[in-house]
Symmetry: C2
Subunit: 373 residues, 2 copies
């Protein structure tokens, strides 16, 4: 299966751009998902930031984006260098196994020895060099037959992230820091997170997967043979005139499930998963508290303000204001506050309650108020 090509030349990035980011409602919506927002104040959307991190690694011609049909125009506006043959459009969201699996199946058909790397469209990474170093090691681990991930060395007992429990070091050329993955663990309680930090063998799960495409699909076939069969049939038709009909027939019936359950956890259990520790600043920008923290760089007294035309008058207040309009927003004596002001919905909460924003979205869904979702 191997070729004479260098492993880096075989590398292809995949950006699944699908998640709405419910915890960032009412900023993030079905028609304005998290990855299309500039949450860092950098002037770039998170999607564009992801693209700009990946393009230097193996070029703009080797980045595939998987996104919803309704986001096509917005995505192409953000990524003018994105080639048509690198766009995979979903007629409806089917979670990460289908998104990444289809991209892998399409790419392996085009290039049998391709090594794919999947990177979320809506995360933030500050240290490009550290990121590139880790990706290079992950590619080497993938070339050696592992499904590789990059785990971020934790700096605090975060409860908003999943963790990776590391096992023994692996002996892989060009991946000197690779370790086996013992298991993945879901977002922990604070005490558990503190124990992880003390233990030292736990990393944050950054949701990055780097693997030979054939290895990834074989792993998927072991747990989800039907799902794999559907993806392979889609891939067979993808670069032909039959694509539309096959997509219409197969995509709606694919199982909707995260790749963590279908690939990552089973592979870890079988000793086939490698992790590269990444000692760089990373955040999944999962809620408004995390955005506030990104902006304040740890200063608790700060008030972060997002919004091009934001007009904020604050007195003895801290937290974050997100303003989509130009209304005057006045804060008096509110600390760790979260105010998100959009044309049709306003959110007021606190950093400590930022994770509960999803419950509002769930309540709105239940009550049929889709107009603001």
């Amino acid at each position: 299966m191997t070729t004479a090509r260098e492993s880096l030349d075989r590398f292809y990035s995949i950006i699944p751009a699908g998640g709405i980011g419910s915890r960032l409602w009412p900023l993030s919506r079905a028609d304005a998902p998290k990855f299309l927002h500039d949450l860092t104040g950098s002037g770039s959307t998170l999607l564009r930031g992801t693209w700009d991190r990946l393009a230097p690694i193996n070029g703009e011609q080797r980045i595939m984006v998987v996104t919803g049909r309704s986001h096509r125009a917005a995505v192409e506006a953000q990524l003018p260098a994105l080639d048509d043959h690198n766009v995979v459009l979903e007629s409806e969201p089917k979670d990460s196994t289908a998104a990444i699996g289809l991209a892998a199946a399409i790419l392996v058909k085009r290039e049998p020895d391709v090594i794919i790397g999947s990177f979320a469209a809506d995360h933030v990474i500050a240290d490009q060099r550290g990121f590139v170093r880790a990706v290079h090691e992950a590619i080497a681990a993938a070339d050696a037959g592992y499904i590789a991930t990059i785990g971020i060395t934790p700096t605090e007992p975060a409860i908003g992230f999943g963790y990776i429990h590391c096992g023994k070091p692996l002996d892989i050329d060009a991946a000197p820091h690779a370790k086996a993955v013992t298991s993945f663990v879901e977002k922990p309680e604070l005490e558990t997170a503190e124990a992880y930090l003390r233990d030292g063998n736990y990393l944050w799960n950054g949701g990055m997967f780097i693997s030979r495409a054939d290895v990834l699909l074989k792993q998927l076939g072991e747990t989800r043979p039907e799902l794999l069969a559907g993806l392979l049939e889609l891939a067979d038709a993808w670069d032909t005139s039959a694509r539309g009909a096959v997509v219409d027939r197969i995509w709606p019936n694919l199982e909707k499930i995260a790749i963590d359950y279908t690939v990552a956890e089973p592979a870890a259990a079988q000793g086939r998963l490698a992790v590269i520790p990444g000692d760089f600043d990373w955040d999944d920008v999962g809620d408004f508290a995390s955005i506030a923290k990104l902006h304040s760089k740890g200063r608790a007294s700060d008030l972060a303000i997002l919004g091009e035309n934001a007009r904020v008058l604050a007195d003895s207040s801290s937290g974050i204001v997100v303003s989509q309009g130009d209304r005057l927003i006045s804060l008096i004596g509110v600390t760790d506050i979260v105010v998100v002001d959009t044309p049709d919905a306003l959110l007021v909460t606190t950093s400590a309650n930022a994770q509960r924003v999803k419950s509002v979205v769930d309540a709105l869904k239940l009550s049929g108020r889709n107009d603001v979702l």
Copy 2:
């Protein structure tokens, strides 16, 4: 000076409707002052509520309203029974001495033995019978030559109100509860307010003044002879064709000062001020915390919601939401919060900081942002 008319027949109410209510910004504005809002959820504006309290006492034909020229249409829409000759329009605000003094001077010219009662346009009183009883005693005290006020028996050590220090009982027919006023005291600190409550001789200053018009003007002449002279000249011209020219010449030059300083305090110092204790529920609705309290009737866990089209989704939250639009407002885990959502300005603060809202208005004035004031 006295006539054969019963004192109640000589009574004339004055409603100075001038204050913007800066502590209720951004709800209250120069073009939408506090008295034009329904803050109680009763369906009536505060101005209309005041009118409805006074009309049963001596009839709709004997209520004079002093307001700004720009509010004329709104006031008349609220009070369709208000007679033209009972409307006094100010070309610019000159505070309560000029407003009440001019009304008194006009009325005394029309009816030399008139007894006037001035009642703020933007207070809330729950107990009509208790209010009427107190007004009747105050009219009796006025007939006896006193400048009378109504003080509200305090139910808690409020720090948002001024206090009246009561002296010895006065011996007035038909005013059995009247006492002399020793002094007026400004809004106290909490400890002082607690001491007042224990002392038992302190009442809340409800800002109501009942007096023979000639007595009130004479008292004013002792401290502010020039201001009185201006008011008398205005009154002389009021019911003539010269009104406009005289107003243009005199009004802009009148001293801008509260009647507390020009009449009430000097009269108290001279033993000429009587107070009738009013044991009824009263509130000046001075800030959003007080509105929240009015609505929650003391239940701290409540969330008060004002606004005809308010759409509020609240989880573990208390305080008050004022919504002027139909945006969805979502609160999560914020207690004692104040959220005021208007088309061009949003305020987020807490009950404890409600009095500080005025500082925002001051800051906006200083920075020239009159568009939102």
